[in-house]
């Protein structure tokens, strides 16, 4: 079996005072395989975006390890650091805020090459950037325009083109489609899937729209209050959720089907229901088929049955 492209071990990110920190990411571990999509879902404030930002070093982590492409993130030479920043890229939620309004599309896409001193020959660089635009369904005429001349969906394409500029191995996509209209969402998602097929890159897809996440992801991790509650194959997790939080989350998603909506019963979740005692050890336990659930030994025995 191949090595994971990204391995996250006991990652922690705390904010605020040391004696009473807010544990935004609280000791989570997971991995992403080359060419796969891992969906990271949860409600606002659960720590999913912080996880993505900490992995890519936008935040300094409080503890734990991030291993990308076989190398530990803490022990990189300068050269390897550069490599890390090229091969791990990010797409942001807001296509309006994530592009500099005073730069043309060409300048936006060129900036990274300037920083990394790549494709220095003018002609070579131009061809490269035109190629990027074409791979996201735009064309070379768009290169000299400014971001305000584009619609939301087109801007998100520019953001994706920028993320692709160094042939990354992994893209962290933080709610890349939440700000777009339904029909445009579908265009962007199809494009992301096609690019993945062509280039074999992996996605960490952070989102709260559970239907779209199920559609795009191979595996899914559900976060709640800084911890991963459940992680498993997308279909398995949706059809056989184990953790009560996952069940509650799935039961809340409205479906475009009035008949099933009429009889839908929402399951509510209360973290106190577990009644954990002090001495119980809570961890992700294996329910088979790579389906892991955060629970106590007692719960494991009863849920497994």
């Amino acid at each position: 079996m191949a090595e994971p492209i990204l391995t996250v071990k006991n990652l922690q990110k705390h904010f605020g005072a040391k004696n009473n920190p807010l544990k935004a990411v609280d000791d989570i571990s997971f991995h992403v395989m080359p060419g796969e999509t891992l969906g990271l879902v949860g409600e606002s404030g659960c720590g999913k975006s912080t996880t993505g930002r900490t992995i890519i070093n936008l935040y300094d982590k409080t503890g734990g390890e991030v291993e990308f492409d076989g190398r530990n993130n803490d022990r990189l030479s300068r050269k390897e650091q550069k490599q890390f920043h090229q091969k791990l890229q990010m797409i942001f939620q807001d296509p309006y805020a994530s592009l500099n309004p005073r730069m043309t599309v060409f300048e936006i896409l060129e900036e990274g090459y300037d920083i990394h001193k790549l494709y220095k020959k003018k002609k070579e660089r131009r061809e490269r950037i035109y190629g990027l635009l074409e791979s996201v369904g735009l064309n070379r005429e768009h290169a000299n325009r400014y971001p305000h001349e584009f619609s939301g969906g087109q801007r998100q394409r520019i953001g994706i083109a920028r993320a692709l500029s160094f042939d990354p191995k992994l893209i962290i996509a933080d709610e890349p489609i939440s700000a777009l209209d339904v029909s445009i969402q579908a265009q962007v998602v199809n494009m992301m899937k096609n690019i993945q097929k062509e280039r074999g890159l992996a996605y960490l897809f952070i989102a709260h729209d559970l239907s779209m996440v199920k559609y795009i992801s191979d595996r899914i991790a559900v976060m709640y209050k800084g911890k991963i509650m459940e992680i498993g194959d997308a279909a398995d997790l949706y059809e056989r959720p184990v953790h009560p939080y996952t069940k509650s989350l799935l039961s809340a998603v409205p479906q475009p089907d009035p008949h099933s909506e009429k009889d839908r019963r929402r399951i509510s979740y209360d973290a106190d229901m577990h009644e954990y005692t002090e001495d119980e050890e809570l961890e992700l336990r294996d329910f088979g088929n790579n389906h892991l659930v955060y629970c106590s030994k007692k719960e494991y025995d009863s849920w497994k049955a």
Partner: protein
Amino acid sequence: MMNEPILQMKNLEIDFKTYAGTVKAVRKVSFDVFEGETLAIVGESGSGKSVTNQAIMKLLPQPPAIYAGGEILFGGSNILEKSEKQMERIRGNEISMIFQDPMTSLNPTMKIGKQITEVMLKHKKISSGDAKKRALELMDLVGIPNPKKRLNQYPHEFSGGMRQRVVIAIALAADPRLLIADEPTTALDVTIQAQILEVMKDVQKNSRTSIIFITHDLGVVANVADRVAVMYAGEIVEIGSVDDIFYNPQHPYTWGLLGSMPDMNADKKEELRTIPGSPPNLVDPPRGDAFAARNPRAMKIDFEKSPPMFEAGKDHYAKTWRLHPAAPKTEVPEIIRNRYMQYNGGDQ
């Protein structure tokens, strides 16, 4: 269920003057709202759904907005002819509105209790003691726990979901006949969204208030709506019962919307169906069917002449030439045929 409509919109037209020219944002929109029903209005951003509904409250600043034609009949008289003073008696009293963002629609410097009672004290002959009592009832109704204590708190002490409940309580304070909810759950998490939708449905059951529910989320529409109007490029392109729209849709744009959303059972190997292109520029709207340029099944007439509303069934209308008796049979996408199969109680 159908009785007299409480609101009738007839051929409403709204223009906006901009530097780029006059934008025809709403183009002859007509619909009725009946007592006790929920009418959902769906459409993408820029389709005119919010502008249409802001016109009901006469909230659009003029200029740049121009009410270019049509009328909105509420209680027998035309809202568009009312003075600002008359409108003040209607807003928050007979018609009230819930906005998308619960973070910005409350006054941060005013206690919650005062924000709820303010509406009643303004519009009703009621003592402040009774208003407070009623506020407590309302908070209870929308599911705010511990209302006595919460009454004296400020908005920042409430979570997003709780704030939206407060906004709903304020909207209901004067027993409005019509509640306009503009994307009321879009900013909320799914679990909170589900709770708010339940609150709104409960409230409606008890009060017979009519609701216009504006959203782009078809899942939410399926959950709350009795009837649905689909808007595209400033026009209503299809209107019917929720079952008509979801199981017997007739307009190609409605097909596109339903097709581009993966449901939880979607097959992953299949590509999502997308609607190619983007909506037309409404400074110079297309001469024919506004959706023709994005419709792979468009006919010649679609580009030449704007279609009228054709009757597709009882109380079900669609603005597409494919329903013209002389039109050739168009091929229906598979995903929509599958929906037709779920439709019991009607032919195709």
